[in-house]
Amino acid sequence: MNKKTTAREKNEFLWGWIFILPTMIGLVVLNIYPMLQTIYQSFFKTGDFGKGNIFVGLANYRKVFGDAEVWQSLWNTIKYAIVEVPLSVAIALILAVFLNQKIKGRSAFRTIFFLPMVVAPAAVAMVWKWLYNSQFGLLNHVLPMKRNWVSDPKIAIYSIAVIGIWSVIGYNMVLFLAGLQEVPRDYYEAAAIDGAGGVTQFFHITIPLISPTMFFVVVTRVIAAMQVFDLIFMVIDANNPALKKTQSLVYLFYDYSFNQGNKGYGATVVVVLLVVIALLTVLQMIGQKKWVHYS
């Protein structure tokens, strides 16, 4: 008996490793090694003409902390996230609550709201840039006020955040709809008998019961928003006066690493981003005790 178990264990060991081997080799070569390499690289300076690596110790990090451009980019990224995440979550939640009722055309609405998720951000950004065009754009023609939506350094980052919200509402909404399906109908019926209106029900039943989903959506949206790149890269040209006030950390990383050829400094910027995202995630994990109700 004992011997048989051992043979089976051996067999499972063998096949287990055969099955995971392609994935593990890939992960080590494509992710684990590159991660360590990037951290390693952040202690080097790429020589002139991209030649040779010169060990500079913590110099890149000291430079990052004294670099006004990096701080500004971090601030731009945070501004983007502060607008994009709460608004896209709030709008998506309200839409999900609407669509969680007996509504005619429910699936048509869902299809429309989700549509931007299957369109390349490059194309989305091109269309919005055209809508925002200060001379010929639809927005300045339709809206009562005329603005330089994407070239005024004061508002450009918010204009980009609007594109981000527009793009992601449907996705957040689908996640909320899935969460709402779990909320038992009789809770609402009981509340209605007690005379609670729609708004009271929303704040006292829906929000607490859906808070685990909300937490998940907020955490993942913050991580994604902190990595914003495509929209900014596409909307803001290199000679746009708003560039300095809109470029994100990932934009800066891309610019240093692949335009200016300073991979060492690019690596440092991305390690800083990693730390910032980790910090924000940990803070939210701690903060969740205050508002997330797990049944």
Partner: protein, 274 residues
Amino acid sequence: MHKKSSMILIYVLLILVSATMLVPFAWMVLTAFKTVSESTQVDPFVIFPGKWRLDNFETVIEAMNFVRLYINTILLIALRVFCAVLTATLSGYAFARLQFKGKNLMFSLVLLQMMIPGQIFIIPQYVMVSKLHWTNSIWGLLFPGLVTAFGTFLLRQAFMGLPRDLEEAARLDGCNIPQTFLFVMSPLTKSSMVALGIFTAVFAYKELMWPMIVCPDSKQTTLASALAKMQGQYASNYPELMAAALIACIPMIVLYLLFQKQFIEGIATSGGKL
């Protein structure tokens, strides 16, 4: 009465949001058929093109070599989906159902990859691709998508949800591990495989930074990164830019409208990775 008026309000809001979602697409279509002078006329503002011309489409298809871009993008999607589904199903099964030494350590590497922002991998991945002389080739585009930590996690969850008895029964019938996996277990995770496939396809189609870095040659690159390049060249010819954007979007939109349920489920299970 109160109920009825609030329902009307809900419909009005839903229709307003729908309009907000659709107007940019409508404007893209309308602009794509206009001439440059129509698109830049302000007084009076032109909404519909005077004539529905295909000139802009013809120009950009020729200039951008769209046929080639389509082939590149479809090939990339096919290869990425194949690699992701194959490797993730195998490893997902092993992590869910087999007991072996080193499993937990290996799985923690999978989780680590999922938690780390993807940009941290890009510089070394690019250095590897250029050492292999795979820049401006399909292999360079494919490279970071050979395996998938997220897919492994997704398929592991799917296998964990299947009843134990099935495997026991298969084993008693004399199936060995690969047979059990292939004929009994993996067919039952088909919906997760489809979800992963769709997610992988949409991700590969939307991705911008990697193809820009690894395939700067606009003939070898994907639709998304070619759009970025084109914007730099035709900066102010919006009718042509919109025509190009429309050509790049249409196939995915049509597929989405045909397979909405699978698309929404596939992307929604991605858990914020997109």
